[in-house]
Homo-oligomer: 427 residues x 2
């Protein structure tokens, strides 16, 4: 791995470009086609890009039950246990409304309700991730979203992966469609004959999915636009180089654009990890992806002090941050910006990817400075409620009218004052 | 006002177009200029578009204290009281983290922290709104944002409005800059010699501000892209037509694109409100704006039943919804989608715009289906924390490795398993 010394001048913040003009244009055309032609466009694009000629877009109940029957019962149990952990963690994110009332019965309040419908995009092909189904659906279910839909590109044989359908089954999701790419996002956003539109679209995808989500944003809500996966590890001489290397590679194997960074004060560790990464990468089934990611986006930063290393981690604001140092909890307390923090050597990052219960949909590209993991909050909305009594209005109407006139909005002032024009009042 | 009957076929959802290709291109060029040239570009654009030749971008402490001295003491008191109400309402939005721990000391946790810095754009000219300063700054302050910056275009004389500076003073904000439009957004996002960049940009603005916020989104966070203001009123024969009309006009006077909608079952009320709107509009200082808005975006919908009227309001998902009916609370309970609900005749919408304490930055364009008022939550971020003990790891490592291999991610499985390679362990 490349190694460099931290110095106060260099920026290690990460930014990834976002698609070419041609890709943006292609996505706009796909969305227009789906809005204009509906199902016909979806079926045509699915034949063209996924190689599958579908009779219908919706997955039948039989397809789901057969996939579940075929699926390894041990894995079904593992997925169900992971789902339980994820549900437990997210239950604590439920929000309640509140009401501030005065003696007259005047009040201001915040009402919290779930959005009505959500659509989850699930990538297909080599990246068909049942864990993504759990991570996106469960927060929506805990929030109380009434209608939750999955959409995923089929294989050439016109089927979805058993794992994805098994995960849907475990969660009780029955509305599943076969379609991928920008066309799937367009269908969720605007609807077709077969697919009713949703209010929010979440889930990962390739550049076309990301660009399509950006296009439809505003007409529907979207989750974050996730970039390639990232791991940063703060480690010292108490860490085992083979474990550090294995964890760096666990992200590097995702994507040639994935980033894997070690931050340390130990030159000895840096050298040992570098050797281990090379050795272990070569032995991975996805070694060419991992090696490319390490070559292009892997880096070992050596700092002069632990504080300098911590500052660099905060500037990087990585999606995943592991801490394997003597006082890992102490270091974690000084981390201001990270999507998720993994403390100690038994908290390897895949623990969070699959099982511990926290969400694996996390902010990338240094956006942990201002963004957070996907959560129940993402599927809730809040309505403000104001009720003024006659007395409270009487006490405050002149102030409100003055503030409106200060801003040149006479109509606002008159609206508040208009209530004085009558003798008899009922509220 | 135009009047039409509700029927099951028609959609009353609102969508507003978002700038021309030329405007988008102009905004991209402005942002590039600010990124390349910094202060020089800001000063040049300010001279060009605001007609002000500035010596420095930052407002001096003397400018603020002189503005406060000139400002009407009664209005200063009104603003301070509004600020207190807004602070009280938003205090209830503070979020705490949580930690779920097992007997081994393994835990998953959510840590909640404030973003480090936020920049508020304050429109200038005729729309210099001190109330916007309160509504944007206070949630950030309650969240605990460390650095809060205001930026606003100066008048031709190179000054900001006394009201905006007075509002900043009341809130203790000292970092205020003179710059407007897309160039101000670029400065907040990427920084210049005089202006350090921020992590999140909020605040309303014209189309160039909105497009610039869309461009920089991702590099920094932004609040919603707010469209023109909207009011919908559900009213029956217990409502006073003059009050309904005054409230419709209070939004119509904002902007020729503002929308004002009455939903009722009463033809008598519809006719009376229509007459009142015409009469009152003519008497407003901003009558040409209000009349244009009523002409283009005003509508009275007459339903056959209150339930039909409520369904229409939910489909519209208006920014502001007033309810002036016999059982206003009962109607409010059936509203699923609205930015803010104003119950009863003493809760005229300007009560919420200025004073009651709820936030006046609200979702427009039917996005209340999935969006919410600006809030403390918008200035907080959450970090997930995972700490597994050796025992918890031991109990679950095989499950995690199986789930990773199900997804074809051998490197993930090996990372978790790598911890078994050693005899002695320390966590």
């Amino acid at each position: 791995m490349k190694t460099t010394r931290l110095s106060s001048g260099i920026s290690i913040r990460r930014t990834i470009a976002e698609g070419t003009e041609q890709q943006v244009q292609a996505v706009k055309e796909i969305i227009a086609a789906v809005r204009g032609e509906g199902d016909a466009a979806l079926l045509r694009f699915t034949e063209k890009w996924d190689g599958a000629k579908l009779a219908r877009l919706r997955v039948s109940p039989e397809e789901i039950s057969e996939a579940v029957k075929r699926f390894d019962p041990q894995l079904l149990k593992d997925l169900a246990e992971a789902a339980d952990n994820i549900r437990s963690y997210h239950e604590s994110q439920k929000q309640e409304g509140y009401k501030l009332e005065n003696q007259d019965g005047s009040y201001v309040a915040q009402r919290v309700t779930a959005i009505e419908s959500a659509g989850l995009y699930v990538p297909g092909g080599t990246a068909a991730y049942p864990s993504s189904v759990l991570m996106n659906v469960i927060p929506a279910q805990v929030a109380g979203v009434g209608r939750i839909v999955l959409i995923s590109p089929p294989g050439k044989d016109g089927t979805l992966s058993d794992g994805v359908l098994a995960a849907a089954h475990i969660l009780g999701i029955e509305e599943v469609y076969k379609s991928g790419g920008a066309q799937a996002i367009a269908a969720l956003a605007y609807g077709t004959e077969s697919i009713a539109p949703v209010d929010k679209i979440t889930g990962p995808g390739n550049i076309f999915v990301a660009l399509a989500k950006r296009e439809v944003n505003g007409d529907v809500a979207i989750d974050m636009i996730a970039g390639p996966s990232e791991i940063a590890i703060i480690a010292d001489d108490t860490a085992y180089p083979d474990e550090v290397a294995a964890d760096l590679l666990s992200q590097a194997e995702h994507d040639p654009m994935a980033s894997a960074v070690l931050l340390t004060v130990s030159e000895r560790l840096a050298e040992a990890v570098s050797r281990e990464v090379q050795k272990q990468a070569a032995a991975l089934p996805r070694h060419s992806i991992a090696e490319q990611a390490i070559e292009d986006h892997g880096m070992i930063y050596i700092g002069e002090s632990l504080d300098q290393v911590i500052d660099a981690a905060n500037e990087l604001a990585p999606e995943h941050l592991e801490i394997m140092t003597e006082d890992a909890e102490g270091v974690a307390e000084k981390i201001c910006h990270a999507g998720a923090i993994f403390i100690g050597r038994f908290s390897s990052e895949p623990v969070g990817d699959y099982f511990a219960g926290t969400n694996h949909v996390l902010p990338t590209n240094s956006t942990a400075r201002f963004s957070s993991a996907l959560s129940v909050y993402d599927f809730l909305k809040r309505t403000s409620i104001i009720r003024y009594s006659e007395k409270t209005w009487q006490q405050n109407k002149d102030k409100i009218a003055r503030l409106a006139r200060l801003e040149g909005l006479e109509g606002h002032a008159r609206a508040v004052e208009s209530r004085s024009w009558k003798k008899e009042t009922h509220s």
